[in-house]
């Protein structure tokens, strides 16, 4: 009925129509720049990566369509896949180690900080300070500290009578990755700490007081009240750590070099991808085809696992809240 009356155009309707058009223009003006930038510099390249991965490449020139040939080369060519497998398991090690050391420490720090001890503000700032610094600065700084002869770490060890421990940390395959993981944990631990802390602060005070009146010990409060109720923060940190671990690039690049030295013990998927795409001593010339295929595989892996993890962890949130 309303439509019928609307179909007869009067000057009044025209004014309304004009206003609606102005509104549409206004909305377009607001949305267009952001959408255009995002399409051009994020969505288009992401889509192209898939598109490029099914072509042969010669430098910057696209060759012929070769289907899954690049994927096959990455996954099954024995010259490549030994690197892939090695790098992948290094990334897995990084993820597990960061979960345990970095996030575990962060949880303890957050639980302590939640009591708002003396120096609460100071601790927050101190723990967060490295987070704001560039990985490049952190990487070089620790590379200097870990210098086998002149570095502060070994000098310190020798000074306190642990000279036997003063090994070339970054030069031994057994210790290099561990050292880098600790550096990363030092760099980032403040981040999960403060995310956890914010989550704990969000728990209603009454709940904790009620538990205390019920006679629960501090440990029981942490385990039975705080831990379940901070589940959303845990989900986010686990997923961010996962994505970060499998995109890990800067620290190994700066501290171990592009080839994951010593002897590929610190090689990562990110480094392998860089070498494949842009060329290196071990990977030979730049190859955009296999590089793109590798990128697509890494993306699918990260996307799948972070989606599954989010689902699983989120379901845990619902059950417990």
């Amino acid at each position: 009925m309303a439509q019928l009356t609307k179909s007869i155009k009067t000057p009044f309707d025209n004014a309304v129509v004009r206003r609606r058009q102005m509104r549409k223009l206004w909305l377009a003006f607001l949305l267009f720049p952001a959408m255009a930038i995002l399409l051009t510099f994020v969505f288009l390249p992401m889509a192209s990566a898939i598109w490029y991965s099914v072509y042969e490449w010669d430098g910057l020139v696209r060759g012929e369509f070769i289907g899954l040939g690049n994927f096959q080369e990455v996954l099954f060519d024995p010259r490549n896949n030994k690197f892939l497998i090695n790098a992948f398991f290094n990334n897995v090690k990084v993820f597990i180690a960061l979960m345990v050391f970095q996030n575990g420490l962060a949880l303890i720090l957050a639980l302590f900080l939640a009591r708002e001890p003396k120096g609460y503000r100071f601790y927050q700032i101190a723990f967060f300070l490295p987070v704001i610094l560039s990985t490049v600065i952190i990487g070089f700084q620790w590379k200097l500290f870990l210098n086998p002869i002149f570095g502060l770490v070994n000098t310190l060890l020798r000074n306190v009578g642990l000279g036997d421990w003063a090994v070339p940390w970054l030069g031994l395959p057994e210790t290099a990755l561990g050292a880098m993981i600790l550096v990363n944990a030092w760099h980032w631990v403040g981040f999960p700490t403060l995310v956890f802390l914010a989550a704990i602060h969000r728990i209603p005070k009454d709940l904790i007081e009620a538990a205390r009146l019920d006679g629960a010990s501090e440990w029981m409060i942490a385990r039975d009240i705080i831990w379940p109720l901070m589940a959303p923060a845990v989900t986010i940190i686990v997923v961010l750590t996962f994505i970060g671990s499998f995109n890990w690039f800067e620290i190994p690049y700066i501290m171990g070099g592009l080839e994951g030295s010593p002897s590929y013990s610190t090689d990562m998927l990110g480094l392998l991808f860089y070498r494949t795409a842009f060329g290196s001593v071990s990977a030979g010339n730049s190859d955009f085809g296999t590089g793109s295929a590798l990128a697509v595989l890494i993306f699918i892996f990260i996307f799948t696992f972070s989606t599954i993890a989010t689902r699983y962890l989120t379901s845990r949130e619902v059950e417990l809240s």
Partner: protein, 279 residues
Amino acid sequence: MANVIKKPGDLGSWLMHIFLGANAVIMLYPILMMALSSFKTNKEIFTSPFSLPRSFSLDNFAVIWSQTNVPRYFINSTIVTGLSVLVLLVVGTMAAYALSRYKFKGNIMISLFFLSGLMLPLRLAIIPLFIQLKALGLVDNLLGLICIYTAMSLPATVFIMTGFLRSLPSELEDSARMDGASEFRIMVEIMVPLITPAMVIAGIYNAVPIWNDFFFPLIFIQSPEWKTLAQGLTAFFGEYSVNYGVLYAGLTLAALPIMLVFIVQSRRFIAGMTAGAIK
């Protein structure tokens, strides 16, 4: 902030203080050592690494100022970060404003479009991005970096700003409409001034990673005159690999500005940098 947990001082709380204190030392001592070493000569670094510098001589800094490209890198980083964040906040706030303040067909679709941008790791699309920027003549060009950083940070910015803009009461908008203000005026004079704290948070959230980024310049910038600070440090490290005092001075200089801002604005920094992870 609320005092969530309180407990009388006992053995446990002593352990807690020791644990927190030790951790603070571990976090701060390396940074302090880096700063102190920057005043030392090479010889001093080797012979007395832990002591205070014999004199707070600025020789190492003078070398950096006069003989390296670090000042130039510094300027480049400032330009890239400044412009990226500026464009980002303007464009991101505009889009967030449309999505949060108007009901229209396609609102949900466009929101999802921005949201999906959050999940795309742009690093993995570096090859097509490289070819694309090459075609646009934006390789080895600060503008190329600005485009990438703006695009990369837009989804999170739109996400953060939408959250804040939604929280503003719609009666304010209605009231301004009754007062005769145009939609543009309502946005600029009424709504945006009310979310400046949110813009600061979103600004920090984006500025810190952009300032610190090393990956994109590594691939897109070759000429020394366009290198950013984080990237330039790698070149600088190659050049001065044996002059430890100068290296420490370079690191200190690179870390100093952001650290100073952080110490003054720590609350906002922490709120800003954890903004994406705290619902």
